[in-house]
Structure formats: structure tokens, C-alpha cells
């Protein structure tokens, strides 16, 4: 009994730290960012006020923040899941694009279905296509040992140009730089349809789906044999193989699931927000942001949700700083600083170094040998 309570205490302490350190880092980064804003001749208080007003200040702004949080949770999960298997999935971007374009096709091709059937089909098609796209990279790694970073970067380009080709040639809305639209039955429910406070925002049921997927990812990783194997391969593939785990199999599996998450993000952007695919000028950035989201969130599903939220606030609030006269470039610098401060995790190192020193002094004073 004694043991269990102390164990609980340790876990609680660990959790408080896991939340408190990033929060302190955010606070410090705001101060540094504020100094930079002031150095460029703008009022930092007004700028931050605008940022929070723009992202959290009203229900509709909060809703719009959730619109950008939704894909970030999923691409963050995609990167985090692969990472737990020791794979660095730079290809979430491409998997996102493939998921999006496939779901546009599914949203258009199947007509006459009720929404309750059509929507799951569209989302699954998007997720599955993304999964295949990621799975190819996993298969190349498992079969030929080629590095997943290079392969997934190349797959990003293939995805983007393939998608652009399809948008401009096969599924083109005549004379436009985008594809035709999906059927109404494939569109996700938007909260504004029945909840009036969300009026003016495009927030949709996708955020709920993203949260459910995060819980599912947590369960899959931590509570199933499969997840245990994936993590074992991530810790040490040689030891895992020695322990009887099929490493190539798990590599393909992890990349497939990772790709599914990213593909689902693309499908949700299509069915919830855009209703069509655009001709892309460059990468949309959701997949690349997912890398940062995953790392800031410590590759933990719950951490990913929190860090996706931070990114969403920055993305939605940033433009509002522009309305206060802060140049776009400075807004970008501040966003970078905040993320850097959280990612570096220096607060943890500083505090732990400090307490360690104090403790060792104490123990020396007590005459204990360490």
C-alpha cells in the first residue's frame, strides 16, 4: 500500500512537470517575443492581445482555431506514431495530399448515398490512400533498407505533382485552379449549422474525430501487443528481433498507420473545410507542421493534442497581429521563438540541474556518499 501511494505521487509529480515546464517555456518565449515586437516599434501588449483575441476571443474565432488544430492533431499523430517505431516520417505532407485528393474523388464518385454512409466511406478512402502512400515508404525500408527520410521526401513531391495533375486534368472544374466539388452528402457536419454561437466559423465534427483518433492511437501504442512490438522496434530493433519480433513487418505497419493518420487529416480538410482540392503552389505545410507538433508533444498522443492546440492558436492568432501593424515576418519570428522555446525543453534542464546541485550539496552536508 505504502509503495503504491508513493508510486502514485511520483507519477503525479512527473505529470505536473510535463505540463508545467512547457508552460513556463511559453511564458518566457512570450516575453522574448514581446521584446522583439517592441524592438520593431510595435506595442507588444496590443499585439498579444490581438493574437489571443483572434484565436480564442470569441466562439467563432475559437472555432476557426479548432479548424486549424484538427489536421495538426492528425499529422502530429502520424509523425509521432512512426517515431515511436524509430521511423522519421517526413512524408506526412505527401500522405496528407494523397488523402485529400482521394477523398475528393470518393466524395464525387459515389452519389445518392445517405451522408451517414457516404462520409465514412470518403474518410476511409482518404485514410487508406494515405496509408498506402506511407506504407510504400515502410515497405521500401523493410525490403531494401533504404532510408525512410529520403524516400518520404521524394514521395511528397510525387504526391504534390500527381495531385496537381489530377486537379488540373482529370477532376478539373473548367477554367479554374481547383477540382470539382464533393457531393453535399460527403460534407462533414459543421457546428455552426445548429449551434448559433459558432456562427461565422467553419469548425466541424472533424475535431471530435481527431480527438477520438488520438485516444485510439494511445490505446494502440500502449495497450495492445501490436503497440508493444512497435515500441520495442523503436527502442532497439536488434533487441526486438532477438526477442522474436518481426521487425520489417512492424516497420511497414507503423508507416501504414502513420500514413493513415495523415491521409485522414487530408480527407477531413476536404470534407470539412475545402470541399475540393486546390492546385497547390507548394506544400500546404500541414505535414511538416506535424513534425514540429509531434516533437513538441513529446511523441505522446495527449502531448500531440496539446501542442497541436498551441500551433493552432499561433496560426490563427498570428494574422490578427498583422492587423495591429506587426509585419508578417515578425509574426513568423515570434511563432518560431515560441515553438523553439517549448521544443528545446531548456526549463526542464535548468530546473533539474539546479535541484540536483542543491540535493548533492545537501547530501554532502549530511555526510552521505552518492
Amino acid at each position: 500500500m505504502e509503495n503504491r501511494t508513493s508510486e502514485f505521487k511520483i507519477r503525479m509529480q512527473k505529470n505536473t512537470k510535463a505540463i508545467a515546464y512547457p508552460l513556463i517555456a511559453i511564458l518566457l518565449s512570450f516575453i522574448v517575443g514581446g521584446i522583439i515586437v517592441a524592438a520593431f516599434g510595435n506595442d507588444p501588449i496590443n499585439a498579444y492581445k490581438a493574437m489571443f483575441k483572434g484565436s480564442l476571443g470569441s466562439w467563432s474565432n475559437f472555432g476557426e482555431t479548432l479548424v486549424s488544430v484538427t489536421p495538426l492533431i492528425l499529422t502530429g499523430l502520424a509523425v509521432a506514431f512512426a517515431f515511436r517505431c524509430g521511423l522519421f516520417n517526413i512524408g506526412a505532407e505527401g500522405q496528407f495530399i494523397i488523402g485529400a485528393i482521394s477523398s475528393v474523388w470518393a466524395g464525387w464518385a459515389f452519389t445518392g448515398l445517405p451522408a451517414i454512409i457516404h462520409i465514412p466511406i470518403v474518410l476511409l478512402v482518404g485514410a487508406f490512400a494515405g496509408g498506402i502512400w506511407g506504407g510504400i515508404v515502410g515497405w521500401l525500408k523493410a525490403k531494401f533498407g533504404s532510408h525512410e527520410v529520403i524516400n518520404s521526401i521524394m514521395m511528397n513531391y510525387i504526391a504534390m505533382y500527381l495531385s496537381n495533375f489530377i486537379v488540373m486534368n482529370l477532376m478539373n472544374e473548367p477554367d479554374k485552379a481547383f477540382s470539382f466539388a464533393i457531393a453535399d452528402t460527403a460534407k462533414l457536419y459543421r457546428f455552426a449549422e445548429s449551434i448559433t454561437i459558432f456562427k461565422g466559423s467553419r469548425v466541424h465534427i472533424g475535431i471530435v474525430i481527431a480527438l477520438i483518433v488520438a485516444v485510439f492511437a494511445y490505446y494502440l501504442l500502449n495497450k495492445t501487443v501490436r503497440g508493444y512490438e512497435v515500441r520495442a522496434v523503436g527502442f532497439n530493433p536488434h533487441a526486438a528481433e532477438y526477442g522474436g519480433i518481426n521487425v520489417p513487418h512492424n516497420v511497414v505497419f507503423a508507416m501504414f498507420v502513420s500514413g493513415m493518420f495523415a491521409g485522414l487529416a487530408g480527407a477531413i480538410m476536404v470534407t470539412g473545410v475545402q470541399f475540393r482540392a486546390n492546385n497547390l503552389f507548394g506544400f500546404t505545410g500541414y505535414g511538416f507542421d506535424g513534425i514540429a507538433v509531434a516533437l513538441v508533444g513529446n511523441n505522446h498522443p495527449i502531448g500531440v493534442i496539446l501542442s497541436a492546440f498551441l500551433f493552432g492558436v499561433l496560426q490563427k492568432g498570428g494574422p490578427m497581429m498583422q492587423l495591429q501593424g506587426v509585419p508578417k515576418e515578425v509574426v513568423g519570428i515570434i511563432q518560431g521563438i515560441i515553438i523553439l522555446f517549448v521544443a528545446v525543453n531548456f526549463v526542464k534542464v535548468l530546473i533539474e540541474n539546479y535541484t540536483e546541485k542543491k540535493n548533492s550539496k545537501k547530501s554532502i552536508a549530511k555526510g552521505e556518499v552518492k
Binding site: A20, I24, S58, M168, G282
Partner: protein, 349 residues
């Protein structure tokens, strides 16, 4: 224990910071239209614009639109605001955010079509302006340009200037809006040099100067000595290539001679986006603003050419003037599509 208490305190402080920020919001959110009920003196309407992903500093389209708003700003004593978009998906919320605080929201570029439709319906009591695409709504003023007419004139200049008898065209995305430039340019070149070779390339994007440079260098390698671009920020690369290899570039949208360090911009096709945005604000302040589609061509002085680097000789200018007159009085109908170009019969004046 003390340590965790301190941490907790910090967390609480931080939370209160967030709360303080969020709680203040109802008051500013409720104030976007304080300008309307002021008595006696007519209140100045506020206005702002949302850029496309090219953003300010493209020395082209967005900058030109912004110049018009700034001019109106000084005239009416209202400081215009700008919101620069980083993603295409952001056009809609950015327009929404802008219209929450400004009376007139201007969206620049044909990519705004869908977002503009949605947002103008969402805020029916606000005014909107859009350039380069027609949005049919009672509160949206759309301005279109006859870019093919302006492109025709620079085509004439290019045709009269080329020595190698090869000229180039660098487009952004291969869309009807850009093909308009191509058609007009080709018609202009063929009118003065029926045997000229015209190289056509599209970069596929609008925001990548490197790609513009690459394509321009390839055309130069194929003997082109005058290259016209209609490719947004890619054109900066086209002009850089002209500096490097010493050939002529022709600018687009506004006078781009300042981009060249060696005065290698022969002329620029001018599209008076600034006139368009200025007109929007002016009609708003006058109270004459209404939802309509306005098309500006050579006749309306919405397009034309400029010679900021003084590179166009006087005799070329006289010829260009002849063509300009012919277009304005309707003797020459400039093709606006590739199909129309095929049917076009070049006439030498």
C-alpha cells in the same frame, strides 16, 4: 515540495494571463462598427485588404493593389490594414476577420472567388471588393481587366525590338486568366513580325522566382532576346536572368523597371489594380458603392504599358500608339483566348 508549489504558482499566474486575455474580448468584438452612428460629420469608412499567398513585396499584383489603398488612405485620412495569407485555406477566415473590423474588405486575385462568395454572404451589411474575378453578390464590387489589350501593346514593342526574331513568354499557372496575357502578347508580336518565333513556357506557380529564372534562362538559351512574363513573383527571377545574361525582360502588372539592376526591363504591361482598389474605396466613401462587375481595358485606361527605364525608342512608341488607337476604336479586336488567337488575322499598321 516547495519547488512544486512554486511551479504551481507559476502555472496559476500563467493561466490568469490567458484568462485576462480572453475575458477582455467581448468588448472589442462588439466594437467593429463604431463609425456608423456618428452625427453631423460623415464618418470615414475603414478599409483593408487580404493578399493572396504571394503577399506584399511581390512587386506586382499585391503591391499594386496596396498602393491604391494607400493612396485612398491618405486622401480620406483612414489608415488601411493588410492581412497576408499564408495558406489558400486561410482566405475565407482572413476575409472574415478583416470584415469584422473594416467596412470594406478587398481580396486580391482570382483565387479569392470561392472565399469571397462565402464571406460576402456571411456579412451582408459589409462591402467587399475583388479584383480579377467576378462575384455576383449585392455587396461585392468586382473589377476585371482586359489584360490581353495591354499585352498586345508590349507584344508590339517586343516584336519591334527583337534582333534574333525569337521572343519568349513566361506564364505562371496555365489558366485562362494567364492565357489571356499570352494570346494578347502573341497577337501583338505577330502584328509587327509575322515570322517571329514565340517560345511559350509556364512555371506552374506564381511564387517562385527561382523557377521563373530557370525558365527564362532556358528560353534565352533558345535565342529569345525579349521575354515577357505574367507569372507573379516568378517574374522577379525572369528579370534577374535578364540582368545576368543581358537580354530584355518585359514586366507585368506594374512598372517593374526598378527590379532590374542593369536597366534590362524594356517596358512593363501596366494593369491599374491600384486604380481598381482606389475606385472601390472612393465609391464607398461617396456612398455610391454597389455590387457590380466592372471591366477595365485600354479605353478605360485600366491597362496600358509603361517605360520606366526609358528603353523604348520614340519610333517604336509611335507605332504602339497607332495600335492603341486601333484597339480603342475597335479596328483591332485583341484575342483574349488561345482559340481566338488562332482565328486572329494580324494587321500591319
Amino acid at each position: 515540495m516547495k519547488k512544486s508549489l512554486a511551479l504551481l504558482l507559476v502555472v496559476v499566474m500563467m493561466m490568469s494571463l490567458f484568462v485576462a486575455c480572453t475575458q477582455k474580448t467581448p468588448e472589442p468584438v462588439a466594437t467593429p462598427e463604431p463609425t456608423t452612428p456618428a452625427p453631423v460629420e460623415t464618418p470615414k469608412k475603414t478599409f483593408g485588404m487580404v493578399t493572396d499567398t504571394g503577399g506584399l513585396g511581390d512587386k506586382s499584383f499585391n503591391d499594386s493593389a496596396w498602393a491604391g489603398l494607400e493612396k485612398a488612405g491618405t486622401e480620406f485620412g483612414v489608415k488601411p490594414v493588410v492581412l497576408q495569407s499564408t495558406k489558400q485555406e486561410d482566405y475565407e477566415p482572413n476575409l472574415g476577420n478583416m470584415s469584422q473590423q473594416a467596412d470594406l474588405t478587398v481580396g486580391v486575385g482570382f483565387l479569392f472567388e470561392n472565399a469571397m462568395k462565402a464571406v460576402s454572404a456571411q456579412y451582408p451589411d459589409k462591402s467587399f471588393g475583388v479584383v480579377d474575378t467576378a462575384v455576383d453578390a449585392p455587396n461585392v464590387m468586382s473589377v476585371l481587366f482586359k489584360e490581353h489589350e495591354g499585352s498586345f501593346l508590349v507584344g508590339v514593342i517586343a516584336g519591334l525590338t527583337t534582333k534574333s526574331n525569337v521572343v519568349g513568354f513566361v506564364g505562371g499557372m496555365e489558366l485562362p486568366t494567364i492565357q489571356k496575357f499570352e494570346a494578347g502578347f502573341r497577337a501583338g508580336v505577330l502584328s509587327v513580325k509575322p515570322d517571329a518565333k514565340i517560345l511559350i513556357n509556364y512555371t506552374g506557380v506564381f511564387d517562385n522566382p527561382d523557377k521563373g529564372k530557370e525558365v527564362a534562362l532556358a528560353q534565352y538559351a533558345n535565342k529569345a532576346d525579349v521575354i515577357y512574363h505574367a507569372s507573379g513573383a516568378c517574374g522577379i527571377g525572369v528579370i534577374q536572368a535578364a540582368d545576368d545574361k543581358d537580354f530584355w525582360a518585359i514586366g507585368v502588372d506594374q512598372d517593374q523597371s526598378a527590379i532590374s539592376t542593369k536597366n534590362k526591363v524594356l517596358a512593363s504591361m501596366i494593369k491599374r489594380v491600384d486604380t481598381a482598389t482606389y475606385t472601390m474605396v472612393k465609391s464607398l466613401q461617396d456612398g455610391t458603392f454597389k455590387g457590380q462587375v466592372v471591366t477595365l481595358g485600354l479605353k478605360e485606361e485600366g491597362v496600358g504599358y509603361s517605360d520606366g527605364g526609358n528603353n523604348v525608342p520614340a519610333e517604336v512608341k509611335t507605332t504602339v500608339e497607332k495600335y492603341q488607337k486601333a484597339i480603342i476604336d475597335g479596328t483591332i479586336v485583341v484575342p483574349g483566348t488561345i482559340d481566338e488567337l488562332k482565328a486572329f488575322k494580324p494587321t500591319t499598321l
